[in-house]
Symmetry: C2
């Protein structure tokens, strides 16, 4: 199908459809073939004619062209208000002269006298018509526009018109009758991935395949290699705007509850919380590593009397995990707070924080969620007004009742977590719940054991759609006991001496939790890979771009 | 002066003052000495008596004591609302029975029957009176309280009373007539630094010295070694709450202007922006380093069509700088945005963002600023409603006119920056201004040269009190030119290939800036050392705690 054999406005196609009703299918086919031949001949002739057109000969040549670099080096400060945002183009601007800046999403030539551009800005698109007109638009200008490459950035000037049929190929229901086009930045003619390929859903690919058409499927690795292009798809624009929203709600909620935002160091001496999965480095001759979490320092800030703190920052895990939900670097949302009597106080914060976060996303990110759903269909998250809380023992019992063989004092593996998620959904109608009182042996050394049974601990995990997103607990605030627990867990107490010392100057009972930002977005949106919710993901095999 | 020779309420001291008027100085001295002797004898006797007191013999023993750990392991969930915050204690609560949790700031015994506790919570303090009373408060309880160590955490229960004189030793103008005291967490009896020493201003030390008294001066390094204690001073509580406020305003302002918050990786292949000052590490067998800034990735996000982005996160500099204003790890506030025509658009954001930030701090952080000012006196920042903008050439001219010898195409050194700051303050009455059009040779390779003179660049620095806090510029968005500039600056283009490639798919003209969070707080508050505004600072010699 050549670009010129169709016009982007649907009315023409519809008119064609109606006409075809009058003639037999066969006759129509013959007629079409004849027309097609004619059209090709005309095209060839036009192409020959057009290729001999010279910009130099065009008295209207000032109306189009590539903007020289020197004009883009802050030569003249113009009012930003001169530009109209594509997203704000409506019928109210009919007959107004506007200037837009955006990317060329598609270019379609119609014969040699006309071209349709779809221009995209921040996810909004508008159809622009470049049509030869005496004294206004030259044939050379049409030629220039047709020669532009997709994804190039252009300034388009023209008059807003309102067609009397719906425009399907663009978000905005107006057209621009183009008077001037200037190219600000040229994309290379052949892109490593095309945005429309990258934006395609699995369903579309399947549907086309059934119709005998093989469409390009861009795999995850290729997407990440050309992340800058991949980011431009509507789904990705939505995903990272939602990520921003999660961080914003997290902060706003906690600030309103009297928490203070802190920034703890990522470069730390010794070996963080122990274990093999740390990135080590040389710090001016001293052995150092990257913090696996702000755990120790956020607790120290509680000892420093900030009462309630939170942090948003990178955490580093040198684990060799090649799963859909592990990254070597991700964004941690961390909370730590004094408690008066019980770790339920921490769970109360989790409960209210996340319910308000989910509410806010559903209310304020409709457009983004729709864009994601279009490429990666998902069901909205089911959650209760008051978050369900089950003990670990209750969880184990549910699994046992369902016939799952399981160690009642071991950690839940991914499979068991998923199964429990399904059971909880069936029984309680929620995909978001808290599981608490984990066995002490599966939790870090700084976890407070239960008062009535030291086999269990004052800890909890939180799940979305059967996958863990939060880990939290009351902490041990007694230095001697903390040292004892560290030793019992095989940690060299010397390497965490300053941390343990922090509790010798009077330490309030406290608890907290950590959340993986990328996981929250992935699971809220029902995505299948955490690499989709990290802008530039880092896994054991990827450290670029 | 023994603790028992004074009562903390000023009325008693005043009464003594008045009585002394009646007798001659000499006689008063004699009388005082006599009384002191008597008091000491009584004290010794009381001490002997009290030391024989046993808790076991006390029918009121349930009213005080150390809380066993098991009671602090989330044994029973009590309503947090049972506790009254120290900061909300006012005369309106007169005769009410309240429960408080806080730290013991000071303990003063009066004879053997009475003790005054000052209890601190989140910077607020209240005086608590433990006075022997039949059926209510035993002498053993007074003994117990006197034996508690400073900085220990206690639950205090008692009745609110309102003394008819001002209380100078505490922020709240009520007293608690204590009925019960339970120690939640004991501080070690002898602390490495005392909070009152750490909270002392230089002026107080000087004043005492002139009166012949040597007070403890806690030096910066000792503070940092025991940061958890140091954090508890009113000034430090203020500093880090202001730091939180700066981050909050930064975010709120940018979100309201359509910016998206992003998180870029800190682990990157190659060598970041080049130069020697990077921390290198091994990433699963590949050479990697810690990002010196989110520069490359935030620009790539602009190429990915996010339009306007910002990031708050750690940046790493392995520089051997031992100055008052350099750290090896600090919190970067980074901004990047598309521009239509001019880098002034970026400067406009800086201007409005910072003026609104300063306004907000002056309005909403009065208490915090006062606390800082008390220990580290400073003048409020002078700034204009519309931020002053000077070109680099104008700055050089001002320095020259003032007799400073200076290379017109070199970078300004610290001394020249300070001098210019003073000249600008004299001439324009502002301590906050923008200097733009820096020589190209002193800026990074990705800086856009000026359209009219490639010796200069479309770049700017921003100063507070004569010190640089922001660096910004229009960036080169043309890939071939970018590669050329990188090469000219001695950077191996191969190591930044994915970055340069990002501009081959169509790149809008753009610019941005980076701010050091710790510097903003330091300079807004007129502090003399950046280590004061970093919770756990990292410099070439410090990687702990």
């Amino acid at each position: 199908m050549s670009a010129s054999s169709e016009t982007p406005i649907d009315e023409t196609l519809s008119a064609g459809d109606e006409a075809s009703k009058a003639v037999s299918k066969k006759a129509a086919k013959k007629e079409a073939a004849k027309l097609e031949k004619l059209r090709r001949r005309q095209e060839a002739a036009a192409e020959a004619a057009i290729s001999s057109l010279n910009v130099e000969d065009d008295p209207l040549s000032a109306n189009y062209g590539d903007v020289p670099l020197s004009d883009l080096q802050s030569k003249e400060a113009k009012d930003v208000a001169n530009w109209t945002q594509v997203g704000s183009l409506t019928g109210e601007l009919k007959d107004k002269y506007v200037i837009l800046r955006g990317r060329i999403q598609t270019i379609r030539a119609v014969a040699k006298k006309m071209a349709f551009l779809v221009v995209r800005e921040k996810g909004f698109t508008v159809q622009c018509v470049v049509s030869e007109q005496p004294e206004l638009v030259s044939r050379q200008m049409v030629k220039y526009v047709v020669g532009l490459s997709r994804e190039s950035i252009v300034d388009v000037e023209g008059v807003v018109s309102v067609p009397n049929v719906a425009i399907k190929g663009a978000t905005q229901q107006v057209e621009i009758q183009v008077r001037k086009v200037y190219c600000i930045s040229k994309a290379m003619p052949s892109l490593p991935i095309n945005i429309e390929d990258a934006a395609r859903s699995e369903a579309e690919i399947e549907k086309a395949l059934q119709a005998g058409e093989q469409l390009v499927r861009v795999n995850q690795d290729t997407r990440l290699n050309y992340r800058v292009l991949d980011m431009r798809t509507p789904a990705n624009q939505g995903i990272f705007r939602i990520q921003c929203q999660v961080g914003t709600i997290f902060r706003q909620f906690l600030l309103s509850e009297g928490f203070v935002e802190i920034h703890t160091p990522k470069l730390i001496g010794g070996s963080s919380e122990g274990g093999a999965s740390v990135f080590r480095l040389d710090y001016k001759g001293q052995p150092a590593c990257l913090a696996q979490s702000p755990q120790l320092h956020k607790q120290m800030s509680i000892c420093g009397d900030f009462g309630r703190v939170f942090e948003i920052g990178p955490v580093f895990r040198a684990e060799d995990s090649f799963t859909h939900r592990h990254l070597c670097e991700f964004t941690g949302l961390d909370v730590e707070m004094e408690i008066k009597t019980h770790y339920y106080e921490v769970m109360d914060i989790v409960d209210r924080l996340f319910v308000s976060m989910f509410d806010s996303m559903n209310q304020n990110c409709k457009k983004e969620l729709e864009a994601i759903d279009k490429q990666y269909p998902f069901e909205p998250l089911k959650y209760l007004r008051n978050t369900l809380r089950l003990t670990f023992e209750e969880g184990i019992q549910m699994l046992k009742d369902a016939g799952v063989e399981i160690d009642p004092l071991g950690d839940l593996n991914t499979e068991a977590e998923r199964k429990l998620g399904r059971l909880v959904l069936e029984k309680y109608g929620t995909e978001f719940y808290i599981l608490h009182r984990y066995p002490l042996s599966v939790r870090p050394f700084y976890t407070m054991p239960c008062h009535d049974n030291p086999t269990y601990s004052n800890s909890f995990d939180v799940f979305i759609r059967g996958e863990e997103i939060i880990s939290g607990a009351q902490r041990v605030h007694v230095p001697e006991f903390l040292a004892e627990r560290a030793q019992a867990c095989g940690i060299d107490v010397k390497t965490i001496e300053t941390y343990i010392d922090s509790f010798r100057y009077g330490a309030p009972p406290h608890g907290g939790f950590g959340v993986g930002l990328e996981r929250v977005v992935m699971l809220f949106c029902g995505l299948n890979n955490i690499r989709k919710t990290s802008l530039f993901p880092r896994d054991p095999q990827r450290i670029a771009p």
